[in-house]
Symmetry: C2
Subunit: 708 residues, 2 copies
């Protein structure tokens, strides 16, 4: 995939390189910044990385700029007896000195007239249900490792060249793998992470205060108290050599509290030496998978900016995945980036498209856990009483490896108007939409049958939230859950974006999402042979569509974002709820001339007006703004809206709206977001992240690959 064009300013961004389900990342890429191995962190680790080459042993090292200037820790030992010198014989390559290409499952750097190549591979493939994996497949899919290689083409060289891959971690210290009875060449940090290559001629281990010019060497050439470690590879004159690398993670024992669970991979790997040996043995196999993924993206219709956005998003998604094992069964978690909330339902519903392609069982398992542990029944607050409510689900299942008690999230508080309130209606919709999308896409009919009662309860719960009196219902949520306390109000997933998107009652975005839910229920009930319920759902969606139609303001040609208090915010994601029928191919619901034609016509009018600078295109940057009244905009949600609009309302996209992929990609590949790998909440004028760092949700861009 081509890198940013030469007209772009500084490209400098971290990327998470992560195994599947290990909640671990090897992060690097931000210029002049450290990174490295991290378990369950909210952002990049802080290890110096020494990755580079020198054409001869007399030249200075050329290093990719992924470190802060190393200091020798010698002084802590020698006091005033010497003035330790910081390492000197290296230079930090500037972005103009190297080329970086981020693929879907790779990240590759070239420098020194392309003689030097360094690549990290994060192959991913369709993962079978972990509950049914064979032992061999489990090792293949669950290996907690990142693959890679380092290469030098010295065919024209007159002297031996050298390559280096190293890491500085003075706080923890590493040790040579040979001390773990491993035959491999490399280093481990405790039992938690390690890097290695195959041993052989021309491969040297270094450890000490300075890996470039080691001053102190013990019987095997190392100084184990030194916090700097490296592998140094010699490439003889006249040869081209590529050396495999494996980066391994391991975290044994109890990982989570609340529900005590351990990593699934610990059932299949005994520890770091086992993981490393497996990685080197299967190096070619993993490289092939990575190449296949890369090629799929490159061959797609996506433009280079879109390709970059999906690649960067996929990397961060896997960095947040966590496959645990609890009482003999898999326990799936996607962590929420810097917040590290667990299985946040707002994310589950957005990840569904990607996950149904690559790991559909994860969607099912998460839905089941929401039913089993994180469902609840509330009442609804009317003007004069608490009326019967219904089934709903929590916002999340916990935070930072802690599962909250049954029926309770880590996030939702009482008596709050705004952020940290409950998202009862939103999560009810999320269960319906995710469940039906899963069942319809995978054809898992038995599962749908088992969930019949839940779906019926969800439909009833939806209705009651509209109005206790069936005669007064119009399909739109108008009441708050009793969980919000005496004066709080329900919020939506867009809690922190803008009041126009935050309030759940009389909310445009939520109303159309409700429409999507009823359309899916209609189909699910039909599939289950529940004709009456299906008909009733269809009637409700027709009613709701008409109700929304009436909120349109012909004078302005816009929908207000909230049907209250004269709100005049203009929002893009009013059509977000259409993505589910679109994804499932429910033609009658997505036909612009079909049953919702009047509503679609209004959507078209609305959208045709928003893609202007100062409305929903940022005045300064031209990037998409989810709301005209907020400069906080969310990439993952832009991606969904782009997909829906390109598929259903392509004529509303102004040339500037179409050109914004470049803007969105630049946000991510410059330090404003790039310091935290994939970021979701971004200030649309500056392109600087304002929340949701190190975030998994960008994989909504996967939808783009489905476009014709």
């Amino acid at each position: 995939m081509p890198s940013a064009p030469s007209s772009a300013p500084l490209e400098s961004y971290h990327t998470q390189h992560s195994p599947f389900g290990a909640f671990a990342s090897f992060t690097l890429g931000l210029v002049d910044s450290p990174g490295g191995f991290g378990h369950a962190l909210r952002g990049p680790a802080q290890q110096n990385l020494y990755i580079g080459f020198r054409p001869s042993t007399k030249s200075d090292w050329n290093l990719l700029p992924y470190f802060t200037p190393p200091k020798s820790n010698e002084v802590a030992f020698v006091g005033e007896l010497a003035v330790p010198q910081a390492p000197k014989n290296y230079r930090s390559l500037r972005p103009g000195d190297y080329d970086r290409q981020l693929g879907w499952a790779s990240d590759t750097w070239r420098a020194g007239d392309d003689r030097f190549t360094f690549s990290l591979l994060t192959p991913f493939s369709r993962v079978p249900d972990p509950a049914k994996l064979t032992a061999a497949d489990a090792r293949l899919h669950l290996a907690p490792l990142v693959s890679g290689f380092i290469e030098y083409d010295n065919r024209q060289g007159k002297t031996p060249a050298e390559l280096i891959f190293g890491l500085g971690e003075p706080d923890r210290g590493l040790h040579p793998l040979s001390d773990d009875a491993s035959p491999l060449a490399g280093f481990a940090c405790g039992t938690e992470y390690a890097y290695a290559t195959k041993p052989g001629r021309g491969i040297e281990l270094r450890q000490g205060f300075d890996v470039f010019s080691p001053k102190f060497r013990d019987y095997r050439g190392l100084l184990v108290i030194g916090g700097e470690t490296a592998l140094v590879f010699t490439v003889p004159a006249g040869q081209k050599k590529r050396f495999p690398l494996v980066l391994a993670f391991y975290n044994a024992g109890q990982i989570t509290t609340g529900l005590p669970a351990s990593y699934a991979y610990t059932r299949h790997f005994s520890g770091l030496p086992d993981v490393l040996a497996h990685g080197l043995k299967n190096h070619a196999r993993y490289a092939k998978i990575a190449r296949d993924r890369d090629a799929e993206l490159t061959r797609s219709r996506l433009n280079v900016d879109q390709q970059f956005l999906l690649a960067q998003s996929t990397h961060s998604y896997f960095g947040n995945t966590q496959l645990l094992w609890h009482r003999g069964k898999p326990l799936w978690v996607v962590n929420e980036g810097e917040y590290r909330m667990m299985n946040t339902f707002d994310l589950t519903v957005d990840h569904v498209f990607f996950e149904l392609e690559w790991l559909p069982w994860a969607v099912r398992d998460t839905l089941d856990l929401f039913v089993r542990r994180y469902g609840y029944t509330d009442r609804i607050r009317t003007a004069d009483r608490l009326a019967p409510g219904g089934l709903a689900f929590t916002h999340d299942m916990g935070v930072m490896n802690h599962f909250t008690p049954p029926g309770r999230s880590s996030y939702e508080c009482d008596d709050v108007e705004g952020c940290f309130s409950h998202m009862t209606m939103e999560q009810l919709l999320n269960w319906i939409l995710t469940a039906v999308t899963y069942a319809e896409k995978t054809g898992d009919r038995p599962w749908l049958v088992r969930k019949k009662k839940i779906l019926l309860a969800c439909a009833e719960s939806l209705r009651r939230r509209d109005h206790p009196d069936p005669k007064k219902r119009d399909g739109i949520l108008k009441h708050d859950s009793s969980r919000t306390g005496t004066h709080g109000w329900e919020i939506t997933t867009y809690d922190s974006l803008d009041v126009s998107l935050g309030q759940a009652r009389n909310n445009l975005y939520l109303a159309v999402k409700t429409l999507g839910a009823w359309v899916l229920l209609e189909n699910a009930f039909a599939r289950l042979g529940l004709k009456k319920e299906s008909t009733s759902a269809r009637a409700t969606s027709d009613l709701l569509a008409r109700s929304i139609t009436q909120k349109f303001d012909p004078a302005t040609g816009f929908f207000p974002a909230v049907f209250e208090k004269g709100n005049q915010s203009r929002i893009i994601p009013l059509i977000e709820g259409l993505v589910y029928p679109l994804y499932l191919g429910y033609r009658d619901a997505i036909d612009p001339a079909g049953r919702f034609a009047p509503l679609f016509d209004q959507f078209r009018q609305h959208l045709a007006q928003v893609f202007k600078r100062g409305i929903c295109l940022d005045e300064t940057s031209g990037g998409w703004k989810m709301s005209s009244t907020s400069r906080n905009t969310w990439f993952s949600k832009i991606a969904i809206s782009q997909h829906v609009i390109r598929q259903l309302f392509p004529e509303t996209l102004s040339p500037e709206a179409l050109a914004a992929d470049r803007v969105h990609a630049d946000w991510q590949r410059r330090p404003g977001c790039g310091a935290f790998a994939m970021c979701d909440q971004i200030l649309s004028d500056t392109g600087v992240v304002c929340g949701s760092r190190y975030y998994p949700r960008g994989v909504t861009a996967w939808l783009w690959l489905l476009e014709k």
Copy 2:
């Protein structure tokens, strides 16, 4: 124990509060600095601690100054929707506002006209051999916890007062203990650490972005995504209440590499809830032990500065202790402060006096492990050849929870002149001195018998290092081990202090230490019935004493520190080697008028001259300098020399030398050292640490309690 007198400047120092053998500390005490729970760290943790009181719920909180101003992390969640306020309704007490008293096993703060009391208790007692502990005793001695209480005397109050004990850790997050099925009131961070009190009326849990004025509360009054946690206690008007606290650590699974081992306490405790419950159940028992230890120190003859130094040292010693379990047996490690080298022999030999009182089996086990795994046989480098050497031992057993391979340390390098070279002779002496001191003090005759061959090999090794030709021997080390490579030289434990103390060959300090070793060997061989060997050892020590005598320079009245190259450094620890016969009460060896009278007379002349400003009292501070030519001085070694000199050469101590306890204590209780709890390597002019932070070795001051 009284605190520093009012004339002293700012008292501000961290203290490690540590369980026995858990390599863990709850550190606090440096003004305006965080601290808290740390496992295996090289310095204080970085958690904000909220410990204080307010006389009414309308007053601001008065907090001990052990935090940086808390910031609300709300902004990461709400973006620009709100401007989150940092907590405001508190004030940070200034050192003049509170009184702190560090006891041997306690650390107590009083404020608010003594109405407020906070105390941490680290009871320690004689620990029986872990290999033979009953299950009940194991739980008592190995519980990985720190005890404490918080109290308010509101008998004169008109309104309810409140107490707070809390902790901020946004990087990791904590969760309420009730989620771990614990009946206690408190919080845990994963499975790794926790704090708790007994639940009851007037005890409230707080968690969120601001524990002083929580803005968001869930169904149980918390916000689990918030990184700030606290227990808030209400003390009704007219009452005085004391609430128990327990701080617990837990680290499951494999802890070390090289030799894979886990914590011994994991065999007796199932996890944090178990540790906490045990701590609260046995709170009174632990408090009694702490009071007993405190009283022993207070009742001693030590002056207040000496008491402080021993108390602070003992706290850091326990913070570095680590009782592991390996293949069904205990595995004892003392870690080396910031360097975290394991069982560094230079420290073992200095800890021996303290450990023989409190945990004598630890000395034995460490000696055994040095024989079993960390002994080696070298050759010695003469001018023209490699001559037979002998048995010796490594400098350490590994670093940062990694055991190095058999026969190898983490520190010693080849071909080095100075720091990081081998310490062959030093460690050989250390084994002899530690072994005989252990066996003689404990009367463990069977062990001594089992080690007969080792002792004989040690004696032979000592002789060969003097000279390959027995006829040319004078008792002084004159050759370097083949391990030092082709041109390196052996160093002593004083490697980083001064060249005058660093070089092993012809070294005054090492020569007298060798004398001590021969005296101990003489006695050990006699005890073993090896008359010939005993006689021979006695002859060697007589020869050596005469040889040292000849190095004295009558012109100056000094010994040179190194018998080479016209060295003119004056050192205090020339008499360090006498501590062993002194400790064991070998009267003939320590009688100033006895067999070594000429030598002792020269020692006396030397010492009588060094305790002057500009020689071995620092020109600026008046503190003891180990060498006249280095401003790097080591507290743990000062303590040994003070003991030996007060017992054997008291007349040499100038009034200024005697007054220096205050100087040495001030070094430790001011931020120059206090930022890292007990420090060993200190710049004698400024009192600022220059190495060996967070260090265990200050327990050499234990020797002071033996003085009559």
